[in-house]
């Protein structure tokens, strides 16, 4: 497609502006993680400073932050796997096998609509009865439940793009629903699954509310651990920024690994061609 020079300049400027806007706060967090307290909290904001890794050492020592990252990883990876498995099963059931229909879909989506703060008290009661307070299970169960509606929703719209002919052929070959699901649907929608997993993973990985109420001593996730840096007398900006950077890092690595897959997943239409 031919684009005139002026347009190209405008477009480039637009993109650069947008990217600067998007990157700047992240840059600010990361650069704060290398600054001293005075560099962050005193005027003027510093763009040039002597970097130091003291904040990282401080953050790691202060609340055993590496353990917190491990806890976050266990809770969020397990719940993403469960949510994606159950969610795509349900999506297959609803979209292809015509179970439940719109009513079921609305029921599932409505589970996402109540503010979590109002659900926290009854959930706490349930998990106390089940003796699951302060364990991975309470987190995994709640994350899975709250990710489900998102996964189902997205997977249904992905599944729409998958041609039906393959399945029909499989039925004629005598495959049952489970075989179709595991041998055809899952592999075909793998890129879509990965895209959904990423967003689900970020949701669970960054959760604060559930983790802060349902766990706390035996299990302590990274966002909660970083909130514990907040004393009520001063904000340790440096260690908090370091903690945030360390929390973002595994998520980023995960994203980079599946990046290529995700592009494919988000362009599911390609399967059609």
């Amino acid at each position: 497609m031919r684009i005139s020079k002026i347009n190209l300049i405008i477009i480039t400027i637009l993109i650069i502006l947008f990217l600067t806007f998007e990157i700047f706060p992240i840059y600010w967090i990361i650069s704060n993680s290398f600054k001293s307290y005075k560099d962050i909290a005193f005027y003027p904001p510093k763009f040039i400073f002597t970097p130091s890794i003291n904040n990282y050492i401080d953050a790691i020592q202060r609340s055993n932050f590496l353990y917190a990252i491990r806890d976050s990883a266990v809770a969020s990876i397990s719940s993403v796997i469960l949510a994606v498995l159950f969610g795509s099963m349900a999506a297959y059931g609803i979209a292809r096998l015509k179970v439940g229909g719109t009513g079921l879909l609305i029921f599932i989506i409505s589970s996402r609509m109540l503010p979590i703060i109002i659900l926290i008290l009854p959930l706490y009661i349930i998990f106390t009865r089940l003796k699951l307070i302060d364990t991975y299970y309470s987190l995994i169960i709640s994350y899975t439940t709250f990710l489900l509606s998102f996964v189902i929703w997205q997977m249904i719209s992905f599944l729409k793009e998958v041609p039906k002919e393959i399945e029909e052929a499989a039925i004629i070959d005598g495959c049952n629903y489970w075989q179709i699901f595991f041998k055809i649907i899952l592999p075909i929608s793998k890129p879509g699954l990965i895209a959904v997993s990423i967003f689900s993973f970020l949701g669970a990985w960054n959760d604060y509310l559930f983790a802060s109420i349902l766990t706390g001593s035996k299990v302590l996730t990274a966002p909660v651990a970083s909130s514990l840096f907040l004393t009520d007398r001063y904000v340790p900006w440096g260690p908090m920024a370091a903690a945030c950077t360390m929390t973002m890092l595994p998520a980023l690595i995960f994203i980079l690994i599946v990046q290529k897959q995700m592009i494919k997943g988000l362009t599911m239409g390609a399967v059609k061609g």
Binding site: K38, I140, S212, I213, S217, L230, R233, Q261
Partner: protein, 476 residues
């Protein structure tokens, strides 16, 4: 390459799943095995991989009984560093006990919600709470906390109550029953810059202009004069600052000034009087200080930001919780090390007073705790004079409450403000509105101050509306 990475991911997932189950397995053995030996063994094997929260067996178990877990829910910051010392002291005092300490920490807002949810929703999750006196009436009314009088009678705290300042024995009592042992305090106090106040040129200029000596203000009128004198925005110096965007500062600033002006919370019949003339004067005066003497951004500051301005050397004086004072003396956080003076709050008007608003933190026992006796033993150690002092001088931001700590020469040498604090706590302090609706009242007052600063009404209109809301909250 892609394949390898994917495989790595799958393995990671597998390992973490396995880890989950093995960890949980370990935990069950720890809590259910009766024999002490097995417990110890499970403890050591799992310690490397599972124990992340500070969690240690307090004493070697001599009998077959399993260790009693005492779970403490504390405010984050500070107390975590104290934990090992508490346990050491505990073992010293109770060589034969088999109590296991389990700590949990939460930030200020979460701590409050966690206590409420744990007690209303589950019960029995925690044994000891670290709670601030403003929350106590509501928690006590709800039955979340246990009265401690019988324990105090049977097995008293070291030197109770005579070795504590009078003030810290007041606000944890309801209907004659006591629900908490104080552990950390920090009334409002006036901080000023000694280098400015003792500067000869400043002194001369001030005297010339206002006709009296430059000294820490004894009345709010003097405070205003001095603030006017030092407000020099072009030189990046301001007379004072308030913090308009902080639940723990904005409403308290108003309550502090209003009280100095002689305002009361209640009429004789118990009806709220937050719209009396004195309250209106206080709000208008506070508004003037914001507008004329504080930095332009003060309505947006939180209290950490305000303290940072003082630490940065931009404020000549300001009023704040004592807890901040320790941080002014830390080189890596502050530019005003050694330049800070401390004083009582100024008096407002003729029938005013110099009292400081005082809220403080207490150790309390959960009413649903299954190990109340053990919890009491732990509290006895937490409030031990030695721990009280360690907590104060350990650089953890603690402010001990015992007279022995307040008068300790070592403490006074490191933190001179304890002299002023002792003066405040022995006769110059007042408390929050002592009702289960205290948190709501402060919230309403915070919104009122913010509305006034945003110019959405006169002081009278805003306080009338606030008072009506408070009255509604009290009758509910």
């Amino acid at each position: 390459m892609k394949k390898i990475l994917l495989w790595l991911l799958v393995m990671l997932v597998g390992i973490s799943m396995l880890a989950t189950f093995s960890l949980v397995g370990c935990k069950t053995t720890t809590t259910t095995t009766a024999a002490a030996e097995t417990t110890a063994a499970a403890e050591t094997t799992s310690a490397t991989e599972t124990t992340k929260a500070v969690e240690t067996t307090a004493a070697t178990t001599t009998t077959e009984s399993k260790p009693v877990e005492v779970k403490l829910l504390f405010l984050a910051g500070g107390l975590n560093t104290l934990a090992p010392m508490i346990e050491k002291k505990f073992n010293e005092l109770n060589p034969n006990s088999n109590i296991k300490f389990v700590y949990e920490f939460a930030d200020y807002g979460t701590l409050h919600d966690k206590i409420a949810i744990a007690e209303a929703g589950g019960a029995g999750a925690y044994d000891i709470y670290w709670t601030i006196t403003d929350w106590m009436p509501e928690f006590i009314k709800a039955g979340f906390l246990m009265p401690l009088d019988s324990y105090l009678e049977k097995d008293p705290i070291d030197g109770w109550p005579n070795t504590y300042p009078q003030t810290v024995l007041n606000f944890q009592t309801v209907d004659g029953k006591l629900y908490g042992i104080p552990g950390h305090d920090g009334p409002y106090m006036l901080f000023y810059r000694t280098d400015l106040f003792n500067n000869e040129t400043e002194k001369n200029n001030f005297k010339e202009k206002y006709g009296y000596e430059l000294a820490p203000p004894e009345t709010w009128d003097q405070f205003k004069d001095i603030a006017n004198f030092f407000t020099r925005p072009d030189k990046n110096l301001y007379g004072t600052s308030f913090a308009g965007n902080d639940p723990q500062a904005t409403p308290y600033d108003l309550v502090q000034i209003a009280h100095n002006f002689g305002a009361k919370y209640w009429e004789d019949n118990g009806y709220p009087t937050f719209n009396s003339d004195k309250w209106i004067n206080a709000l208008e005066f506070l508004g003037k200080l914001y507008k004329e003497n504080s930095p332009k951004g003060a309505p947006q500051l939180d209290m950490m930001g305000r303290a940072d301005m003082f630490k940065e050397g931009k404020l000549a004086m300001y009023a704040d919780w004592t807890g901040f004072a320790g941080y002014f003396e830390l080189q890596e956080l502050s530019n005003v090390v050694g330049k800070v003076g401390y004083s009582l709050m100024p008096k407002g008007g003729n029938d005013g007073n110099r009292d400081s608003l005082d809220i403080y933190w207490c150790y309390a026992v959960s009413n649903s705790s299954k190990n109340k006796d053990a919890a009491w033993q732990v509290i006895k150690v937490l409030t031990n004079p030695e721990i009280d002092k360690l907590w104060t001088i350990g650089g953890m931001g603690g402010v001990g409450v015992r007279n022995s700590t307040l008068n300790d020469p070592e403490v006074l040498k490191q933190f001179p403000f304890y002299k002023t604090m002792a003066e405040i706590l022995n006769g110059n302090a007042f408390g929050s509105p002592y009702t289960p609706a205290a948190a709501q009242i402060y919230d309403i007052l915070k919104i009122a101050v913010q509305n006034y600063l945003a110019g959405s009404g006169t002081a009278k209109e805003i306080l009338d509306a606030a008072n009506a809301k408070i009255a509604g909250a009290l009758t509910k």
